[in-house]
Amino acid sequence: MDENASTTEGQDRDRHEPPTAEDPRLQRVIQELFRANARLPGGTAGAVRHEVRTGELVGGKSHIRKAIERRRQLQQLLRRVDLSDQDRTTAQRLLDDLHAALREAGVD
């Protein structure tokens, strides 16, 4: 196995460990974005990246629209909810990750 690729995958996995939140709405978003017991890291953003990089979809179905709608929800949460500093940081990181994955998919 390519050592560099292995290292990169490990870093990806570390970066995409599901966070937790105090705010119940944000915690629910996290539960919907990230899959338990999955070998593919990164939750919905990771799924979008995987689809873009490999062309592999879920029986022809994509995660892109889900990512777009969850991105909008995180933007709304950051605007409307009185989040703790920690939750705000978590929400912003999730939002940035979805942004980056969607950008890779050619979606602004």
Partner: protein, 137 residues
């Protein structure tokens, strides 16, 4: 239940509310959080339907309610619009697969197409190996 031809991506949430009226209170509460901007269908299916469905699947003697939900999901799974199919696959089936016990119970109620989606989702996330005999389920 609405006919397939009457369901479109922009009214699929309303179709869900008609098929499962028990969700309306939760849906309206979610909408109030959003103000003028309506939440997308993936958000409603994920944040309103999924908790309801997981609760049913964790309880005993909820056969009628479970059949009602899975009948609607099968209806959507057979829809020609891929984005409507995605609601079933990447928002509902994915979440059910987070808990093997829940997923196993859900199999009893899934229609053939929903079960196919569930199997595809489990392979995608690496939670199960792909079947090699050309069948799913």
């Amino acid at each position: 239940m609405r006919k397939m031809s009457q369901i479109h991506y922009d009214n699929v949430v309303e179709a869900l509310m008609e098929a499962v009226p028990e969700l309306r209170v939760g849906y309206e509460a979610e909408c109030r959080q959003w103000g003028d901007e309506p939440p997308g269908p993936h958000v409603i299916f994920g944040d309103v339907l999924n908790p309801y469905l997981l609760n049913l699947l964790s309880s005993d003697r909820q056969d009628a309610a479970l059949r009602q939900v899975f009948q609607f999901l099968e209806h959507l799974a057979n829809h020609e619009d891929i984005h409507i199919q995605e609601l079933v696959a990447v928002t509902v089936c994915e979440r059910l697969g987070d808990d093997p016990k829940i997923l196993h119970r859900a199999y009893k109620y899934m229609g053939a197409r929903t079960r196919q989606f569930s199997d595809e989702v489990e392979v995608f996330w690496g939670r199960t190996a792909p079947r090699t005999d050309g069948t799913s389920g």
